[in-house]
Amino acid sequence: MMRRYIAKRIAQAVGVLWAAYTLSFFILVLLPGDPVTAMAGQGMDSAPVDPARLEALRAEYGFDQPAPLQYLEYLGRALTGDLGDSVATGRPVTQLITEALPQTLLLTASALTLALLFGGALAMAATYSERRWVRQFLLSLPPLGVSVPTFWIGLMLVQFFSFRNAWFPAFGNDGVKGLVLPAVTLAVPTGAQIALVLAKSLSTTLDEPYIATAKAKGAGRVHVHLRHALRNAALPALTVAGLLVGALMANAVVIETVFSRNGLGRVTQAAVAAQDIPVVQGVVVYGALVFVVVNLLVDLVYPLLDPRIVLAPTRPQAVAA
């Protein structure tokens, strides 16, 4: 039963990957210009480029073909695992990405961990507090965290922790210290959203009759909060966390640029600027892959948290008369 479910989800994932690939291809094709022109324009020497040379380059990469033909050719090769070569650097796309991916995964995973820890703690504290003003204050923090732009948070952190105090490096990929500021920056909006959802879910759960039952047994507030409410309230927050992985990957592009970190974000930024279609396509496919895998994991965790959830395809049960 479980195997059937996972097989079905993998089939769905393949569909998602294909859709992401196709959509990104046509968006890139619709952009004015092409990679060859972009490359020529970027040349340091402003000498006029020989039009015949450009035509030859276009033919080499297949940009002279009609878009649907190009698409089929790229797709055919992608199915065999070959995502093509970068137009700008000539290196294989898979190699470019596998080099950059670990740094980005490290960054997003640290950010997600921080977000879950601090977002969760904030939600717990806000719903635990009996003082109205403490509660109100804590609950006003997440909307603030969501609404402030990520790059601005990054710049503020660098200003304070690198330039004024030199506690953490302002850029680069050096070790754990270099990871702190970008991970914190990235974690702020994510953690804020997790805190919002968890706090809402916790306060609903705390009104449930079974919470009153637990109190009637003589359980203290901490016990009730941790042992009874949290696990019941965790599901919506978990769902949101899974969806936020997509936003984290997107934000990583900005953060890696702000902190001059090497990673998938930088690769993407450079590729988009150069209209390097094969690389952008590759990044989209890898991004979608991570997203799909994380959300599959989230779905597999559900039944562990809540025994009422069964993953196997169910039909509506008999309604009680």
């Binding site: 637990a214 003589g218 359980a219 025994p307």
Partner: protein, 547 residues
């Protein structure tokens, strides 16, 4: 009786903060419970009985406040006790059996764990022992195969079993007082009887006192040594059960007694004009061999299904009330839905006024909606909260394009008048109405198209007894006026006796017995029918009242 009472509440007042003004829920209540005694706290919704009971263990809603009064329990003052002191009392000295077993257990914890938690919280046993003792306690609470059940989750147990788990939690630490807040009102009558019997037996064994909160005077009469009647936050009458039931002093108690269906003699139900043989030969509704299967989740054994309705036959004549009686899961509601074509039958035939509607298409089903209507159980959920009363009642007329705006409004006013509501209510929304008023609006809506048949699915089970009686009277009156037929679905035989001409008893998807109401009540043939009749509370008292 001991001189020092176990629980003594004096001049208790509790109010709820609301946006406008504080609402006083309990206003100067005095209540005494002695050791080993069962006291029933009886009243209708909003009487303050639950608030009083919860105030004892200080488990009130966040916006509630104890204004004045004292609560002394075993020479300890609880009204101002600290959180820590309360924790030592809750669960250990006072056990609480909550109202609704469906939502009162933590859904993500095994039931054994939840019972063991009581012992662990009060350091009454070690982790290992607690698990074993939890099984013992569950067994004592009457849960069959307790060792296996202890490892299951609440959703894997039936309502009755869950209530036993809740009782097990309440008795686990051998408390001196058990507060049971409507412990069985969400359960079927037969289950209710078994559970209350068992609770009574447990209490007799341990010598604990019980404060039984209930809306059902019949249940109170069967179980309590003394009865305390509450109304609008005040105690209106207190007395030993026998005395209070046979000679109620307060006018409110008398009214409560008069409206409790199980304590009443059956009202004479108007007999049908049976001489008209044509009417008998051509019933309004003819259901033959009706079957409804629901597929179950696939298992290793391949696809399987459950038969919710399993070969049901019945007819309903014009102006007749057929009651479909059974416990939850018996298939009675599904049968009602099939008749209205809200679900497709797996097999069988349904004829409405001579036309086969078993597989009727969209247009034919729409025509059926004009002639067959539905009144639902829960008037709090079945009315659109954004519609005014007028909009609700006019909607059926509007969708069938009957009349113009003005005539529809006149129609709505007349319908409202029929269900005894003032026309000033037309512009109100459901939130501004009481439960009884809402159900009247639902009835008016069902009658808007002058249907031939109305399926009433537990129309009064969410209402207070005195309101129940009014709504039942109304249904009978409307039948006399309009000649509408009812398919009256209910779990409550006492209610059914008040208005049904014939009764069909359902169990496990089958009709086990059909007969006139008199036959079913006086000469039940099937053993299950007899079981259902025996489970109606308050029978001994009812006989006493009548004689």
């Amino acid at each position: 009786m001991v001189s020092e009472p176990l629980l003594q509440i004096s001049d208790l007042a509790v109010s709820y903060r609301t946006r406008s003004a504080p609402v006083v829920a309990v206003d100067g209540v005095d209540l005494v419970v002695h050791s080993g005694e069962t006291v029933a706290l009886v009243g209708e919704s909003g009487s303050g009985k639950s608030t009083t009971a919860h105030a004892v263990v200080r488990l009130l809603a966040g916006n509630a406040q104890i204004e004045r009064g004292t609560i002394r329990f075993a020479s300890q003052a609880l009204e101002g006790a600290s959180e820590r002191e309360l924790r030592n009392v809750r669960g250990a000295q006072i056990g609480l059996v909550p109202q609704d077993p469906a939502v009162s257990l933590n859904p993500v914890k095994r039931v054994g764990e939840q019972v063991a938690e009581v012992l662990r919280l009060h350091s009454l046993s070690t982790r290992k022992q607690a698990a074993l003792r939890a099984v013992e306690v569950l067994d004592r609470a009457g849960l069959p195969d307790a060792a296996t059940r202890a490892r299951q989750y609440p959703h894997e147990l039936s309502g009755g079993m869950r209530q036993r788990v809740l009782i097990a939690m309440a008795i686990a630490a051998d408390p001196k007082l058990i507060i049971a807040d409507e412990p069985t009102s969400a359960l079927d009558v037969t289950v209710q009887k078994v559970i209350l019997d068992h609770l009574q037996h447990l209490v007799a064994e341990s010598g604990a006192a019980v404060l039984l909160v209930t809306h059902d005077l019949a249940v109170a009469a069967d179980r309590a040594d003394r009865i305390v009647v509450m109304s609008e936050g005040k105690v209106v009458e207190t007395g030993p059960t026998a005395a209070l039931m046979s000679d109620p002093q307060h006018e409110y108690t008398r009214r409560l007694l008069a409206s409790a269906p199980s304590l009443q003699s059956p009202r004479p139900v108007r007999t049908l004009p049976r001489e008209d043989s044509a009417a008998v030969e051509h019933p309004l509704l003819d259901v033959q061999d009706l079957v409804k299967e629901f597929p179950l989740p696939r298992t290793a054994a391949g696809p399987s299904s459950v038969r919710a309705v399993d070969g049901v036959n019945f007819v309903i004549h014009r102006a007749e009330t057929l009651a479909l009686v059974g416990e939850s899961g018996s298939g009675k509601s599904t049968t009602g839905r099939l008749v209205l074509r809200l679900a497709d039958p797996t097999a069988g035939r349904i004829q409405f006024d001579g036309t086969d509607i078993t597989r009727s298409g969209h247009a034919a089903t729409r025509q059926l909606r004009r002639r067959a209507q539905l009144i639902y159980q829960n008037p709090y959920a079945s009315l659109d909260p954004r519609f005014t009363v007028a909009e609700t009642i006019e909607e059926p007329l509007r969708v069938f394009r009957i009349g113009d705006k003005a005539s529809r409004r006149t129609n709505a006013r007349e319908l409202l008048d029929k269900v005894a509501l003032p026309s000033a209510m037309l512009e109100r929304r459901p939130a501004e109405l009481s439960g009884g008023q809402r159900q009247r609006v639902a009835i008016a809506r069902a009658l808007a198209l002058s249907p031939d048949l109305v399926v009433c699915d537990e129309p009064v089970s969410a209402l207070d007894v005195s309101v129940q009686a009014q709504v039942l009277d109304l249904l009978v009156q409307l039948q006399a006026d309009t000649g509408v037929a009812y398919l009256f679905i209910s779990h409550d035989l006492a209610v059914v006796r008040q208005l049904a001409h014939r009764v069909a008893v359902m169990r496990n998807g089958r009709i086990v017995e059909t007969g006139t109401t008199e036959q079913i009540f006086n000469e039940p043939q099937h053993e299950y029918t007899r079981e259902l009749l025996a489970a109606i509370p308050g029978q001994a008292v009812a006989e006493g009242v009548q004689s």
